[in-house]
Symmetry: C2
């Protein structure tokens, strides 16, 4: 009797209530031993099945190492945004159809093998994942240190334990757990700073002639690449060697709401880091997509850090870190589609345009759709969806409750305005990655505050297009405040990198009277430019660049083709006020292109001049 | 018209007839590319399914590398003889229910990952597998060279690419593709000869104290084992480091007939090499269980080479090689079972005794069973099976068409005399392995001819027991002729190694009047002994040791506890005639134990004396 009572009290103390205790499931109860190197997948399958029978399920992974191999994974058809289309995605941890679930991994190391998608959250709500490190035994990107660089060759030192390789037909080919893939591109990182080497980026760190290289293995882990040319990566520096396709996200969130991810170190993955799609109310705190320092890694994620496609509700990124990525840390956008045919007054045949973004259930009954003409890219009108039907992964029919505007014709575009989120990005670090820092294309309320940017390209890009990538859309309310933009920003050039902040929609014929973007406030930030372009803005109205401090850095030599601090093109209602310039800031000037002078309200005594 | 005719003639020339052409399936037709490192398993599944629809199916693997991973393997419950019992065996290539199939691999390399069973032939007939190399990327046994050996430690050099390891709790633990297993035993191989070092074997090459070792990694691939003691493996020599369980055969043949395996190099596997069980008419030509020289391997198979359990019909092993195995190259035996209870006059409750040999469908209606009393192990009588029923993997009920002999009691044994094969082993090489060369326990006709033996233990063991391993049974017709037994034979001691040829059944109370084994002819062989015991025989009748040449080797010092060239114990009708001795052959003598002198017919002038 006495013993039972003590047991009961102990349980109550441990779990708060016995009810909660019953809802807590430990993966080790299923026979898995952390560190055993066995495949954890079948144990996770059983545990998740049991979690589904609980009211408040909490799945616990005790600290330690968990290995995940393809055997027993759920293979599922998913059309994942900005990701290669493959028949089935491998989902070792599939959280599907849950109303509530917490997974607490207690800082466990989840080690993945071959190509797969660590976490998948599908058609679920109230999901929390916390305290987990995600890594690969053999990553899907490799790295090498430059042991020698001459006009005729460079020598690579590769950790062949981590990145086994073969030389085939004189080419360097990496081999892993169920795959083989040829090296196709590189990013150079400085040995001292572990940052992208200045003026390399998409300009190419390897030099012009490198595709003709001939690889020779001098000894295991030591590979000579013979090719001529003066431009070579620097001896001692590191190359991230890109190979393999982008086919699985690190975490994929689809058709889900109220998802919290906290304390996740995503050291590597097989594509986009966290891909959220048609989901909303997502909260990410201390999610770091960074190299695994313990493993002497330079490489981190395979592509983007966090990618949001057609989400809505509130997206929050708080206290996250992004470093050494091979693409943008954060990208928030919708998917616009091309109108192929007017099937009737109310019915359109449409097509997904970018080959990596197809097959979506793009709209649901009652959602609001914008009709965009594709010259100035103005939204002519909106309509309510009555029905949606996919004819194929590439094409769908959509009908509306009232006629489509008569001026909308084949070749114009649609944007789903219901699937657009509010965004808060704060207290985060955007380190030296390939490409930009944050891409924002949503009409929702956007706040970017208290972040530090060391992006090698533009820190923030506000794009918007229905002509190239078809990543909609126009912004309406963006605040960029209290951020620090360090002098690493814009040390390399990538697509659309026109300024540290680059507002650069792709618009065939911009209309200065009807700018595409609206209400962008850039306030109380500190910039450390070594080069001219701090801000470039095209087709924006209601643009405020106020109370910023701009401090000259002399760390790098200016090289950008833009020679103005601020450039406005096809813009309206611009305010530049109360900015402080320190040191010999390049240019200290403003250029207006296709923008009437009257649209610029330039406060005097800032030391900023308007050049003609 | 003309073109079609030419095409038809070409096809006819290529394939003999168009009918044959249609029956040929190439694995590459299913989209697999040799050398792609992709998992071949799903492609093989499809190809085998299609083969089943053909009349004369031939499955072709073009030359190259094929990788096999656990994903998509068929997992099946098999009770495999002399193998650990696990819930399901992984079968990447499952040939089940075929009436005919040829697989031609054109010398392809089949590379396996994790633990699995490369080929499984189940309930099939007329199966041919040819021209294939089987190996593991990360073998399930490791090897190391001794870089240093002192009284206080030895240093191991391990190829950590091939055999990744960790040090856990001071112990050396190997880690692989889905497994982790602690090192538990070693075999020492001479660096020059790559043969088992003399007087090590199961005596232990590591010395007495080694289990207390403390492992320290000095650098990657260089591990110091600290332990005291004078006996250590020799600097420069190699250790095969045994770890992991015996849970999958290299090829498993069950309930099948007419199986041909030709030109197979089995460089490694997860248990017994080729395990044939309740199958018959099996033909193995140029099947080599040997180290992969290209990979600088000392290790080869995990345990036995070819293991035959309860087979019948004709078994032929022709021109095969066995080297560096961790157990016997060839073992042919049945499984005897213990009588637990007489359930009626005609019905017995029986039990499998050895824990690795359970769960068999041990008998079928109409089969002949021998009743064995377990003192002198005489077969009292035989009976016909009427029914058989497994109560559990360990226990079964068997009933007979007539009453069981009254003298047969609980504790006695049964042997299935129908499941006993004829055996021909010729032109083969039995190199330096752990344990013996050939184990034979079958009443069928056995011929062992034109082979070379360099076994480290006994070259040939004729055991037979229903008390220990329960591997039946008595032999009735064995011819051992024209073989060469080199001086490597019996350089190490293992269980039952009483002579180069050791006839050593386990009989609690041998009866000299009713010997267990019968009719064993050892003729026209050449022996190169460095030590005394050439032949030891217990409980055998009709034993002929004639026309052999025995040539003294001085390569090693004699050490065996037996000091007689020939020893006969509880034997009858022995003939020793026309043997030639060259050099100072140790002993040149015969010892009789519990064997009347009149039973020995010793020809004079051979230089062989009978000691009292």
């Amino acid at each position: 009797m006495k013993f039972s009572l003590i047991a009961f009290i102990s349980a109550a103390l441990l779990y708060g209530t016995t009810g909660q205790a019953q809802d807590t499931i430990r993966i080790t109860d299923y026979g898995y031993t952390a560190g055993s190197r066995q495949n954890a997948v079948p144990y996770v399958l059983k545990a998740l099945n049991d979690c589904k029978t609980k009211k408040d399920p909490v799945l616990i992974f005790p600290a330690g190492r968990y290995d995940f191999w393809p055997q027993y994974v759920t293979e599922k058809l998913y059309y994942e945004s900005n990701t290669d289309v493959i028949p089935l995605r491998r989902c070792p941890i599939l959280i599907e159809g849950f109303n509530k679930l917490e997974i607490n991994c207690n800082k466990a190391d989840f080690i993945f093998h071959d190509r797969m998608q660590p976490f998948t959250i599908d058609s679920s709500k109230n999901i929390t994942i916390r305290n987990v490190n995600i890594d690969w035994e053999i990553p899907l990107t490799a790295q090498a240190q430059i042991a020698e660089a001459t006009d005729d060759y460079i020598d690579l030192v590769i950790n062949a334990f981590e990145s086994p390789y073969v030389i085939e037909n004189n080419k360097l080919v990496f081999v892993g757990e169920g795959w083989k893939s040829e090296w196709w591109g590189s990013m150079e990182f400085d040995n001292n700073t572990k940052q992208v080497t200045s003026q390399t980026g998409d300009a190419g760190c390897m030099g012009d002639n490198f595709k003709n290289y001939k690889a020779i293995e001098l000894k295991q882990g030591y590979v000579r690449l013979q090719y001529t040319g003066k431009h070579k990566p620097l001896k001692g520096n590191w190359l991230v060697l890109r190979h393999s396709a982008r086919d699985h996200a690190g975490t994929f969130i689809i058709n889900s709401r109220n998802v919290v991810i906290e304390n996740m170190n995503l050291y590597h993955c097989a594509g986009l880091g966290i891909l959220s799609q048609y989901s909303g109310d997502l909260y990410f705190k201390r999610v770091n997509v960074v190299p695994n320092a313990v493993k002497n890694r330079i490489l981190s994620g395979h592509d983007d850090g966090m990618h949001f496609s057609n989400c809505n509700g509130q997206l929050t990124i708080d206290s996250c870190r992004f470093l050494s990525l091979m693409d943008d840390p954060v990208n928030v956008h919708g998917t616009s589609v091309r109108i192929m045919k007017k099937l009737s007054d109310t019915k359109l045949l449409c097509r997904f345009v970018h080959e990596q973004s197809i097959g979506f259930t793009w709209a649901r009954e009652g959602e609001t759709i914008g009709f965009i003409e594709n010259e100035a890219m103005n939204t002519i009108d909106t309509g309510k969806v009555e029905s949606f039907h996919l004819n194929s992964p590439e094409e769908f029919e959509i009908s509306f409750s009232k006629p489509v505007p008569a001026t909308i014709i084949e070749g114009d575009a649609l944007e789903n305005l219901t699937c657009t989120p509010d965004v808060l990005i704060k207290n985060s670090f955007f380190g030296s990655n390939r490409a930009r820092g944050i891409l924002i294309s949503t009409p929702g309320k956007v706040i970017i505050e208290n972040n530090v940017f060391e992006s090698s390209g533009s820190a923030i890009l506000i794009p918007g297009d229905a002509n190239g990538w078809y990543e909609s859309g126009a912004v309406k309310d963006v605040t960029i405040r209290n951020n620090v933009f360090n002098d690493l920003c814009l040390t390399s050039l990538y697509q659309f990198c026109e300024g540290i902040i680059s507002i650069d929609p792709e618009i065939p014929r911009p209309d200065a009277n009807k700018p595409f973007h609206r209400n962008i406030r850039i306030e109380n930030n500190t910039f450390h430019p070594f080069d001219y372009p701090v801000l470039y803005a095209k087709s924006a109205a209601g643009l405020h660049f106020n109370n910023n401090t701009i401090i000259r850095s002399t760390r790098f030599q200016p090289f950008h083709y833009r020679k103005h601090m601020l450039t406005f093109e096809y813009c309206k209602t611009i305010e530049v006020a109360n900015n402080q310039l320190q040191g010999d800031v390049p240019g200290k000037n403003i250029k207006l292109i296709a923008t009437p002078k009257k649209e610029l309200q330039l406060q005097k005594h800032q030391g900023i001049v308007l050049t003609e």
